[in-house]
Symmetry: C2
Subunit: 185 residues, 2 copies
Amino acid sequence: MLPQQIHLTLPPWLGEVADSSRRYHSDEERVGLAIALSRHNAGPGGGGPFGAAVFDGEGRLISAGVNRVIPQNCSVAHAEMMAYMAAQQRLQRFRLNEGGGRYTLATSAQPCCQCFGATVWAGIDELLIGARGEDVETLTAFDEGPLPADWIGELSRRGIAVRRDIMRDEARAVLAAYGATGPHY
Amino acid sequence: MLPQQIHLTLPPWLGEVADSSRRYHSDEERVGLAIALSRHNAGPGGGGPFGAAVFDGEGRLISAGVNRVIPQNCSVAHAEMMAYMAAQQRLQRFRLNEGGGRYTLATSAQPCCQCFGATVWAGIDELLIGARGEDVETLTAFDEGPLPADWIGELSRRGIAVRRDIMRDEARAVLAAYGATGPHY
């Protein structure tokens, strides 16, 4: 029998780290949440040191995601992908900003080649990044994969503003701690 | 409440088009199935003219996917992504070829920027493509997004052989028919 259902879950502690009752206004608050998610997800049984979250223009938290590749046996389940899918499911539209609002993805580390491509279609206006790709690759064994040479320009030309190095030191610290102890699976 | 579950489905007719009891040995049989899936998915209520399937080294069909972006409100749910997630879930590993077998993705049309990136991580050895990206963009309103300049070389250097133009005319015919009548939603 061919599989006809895909079911992915986020960890039960998500709501303990991400507070959907408050507003996240600044870039630092938004990436700070993504980094807090990455830190929690780096522990035993987690999917590694990556977190992401989608916010609307008023700073409301729409969704939070962490890497679930290992626990869910799914190479698609990166933090950014989980956050996009959860936000689209919640708002019931496949392009988040199609209704006219503005949406932001904040991520603890630079999106890999898969999450870069997903960002083109997800309907966000702004991408906020903590650690750089080179931080991921030098501090951990993870690989970012092949990106277009001018990936920031490609997003910018499609109306997606990219800001990076937001709380980069804090994001790097999570990666470094994970890289020093190795994966926990 | 933050979403903690992602649930995606494939259409009920999947097993009528994809026959998991037979073997698909040649490139043409494999891409032929992806094109048949794309044709069925192009109809009313479907997600558009895109299909894909994962095969093992003996020609067994492991999973089949079609584009479910519109019906599932999910920009991630491209045919290739659905096929990868379904195959990984069935085999219970996040890199299909980690157990030593060889795996192939056949797709009716060149992967977009998101599916290109996902292909880097999915654990396949071979990517078989029907229509080219330029066919998609000239025959329909769909966009392939920004790829690395040498995307075939990037995959090849990671051990993924790319063969394209397999049954390209048949794949183009499905795209052309869809492009002529427009999306059915």
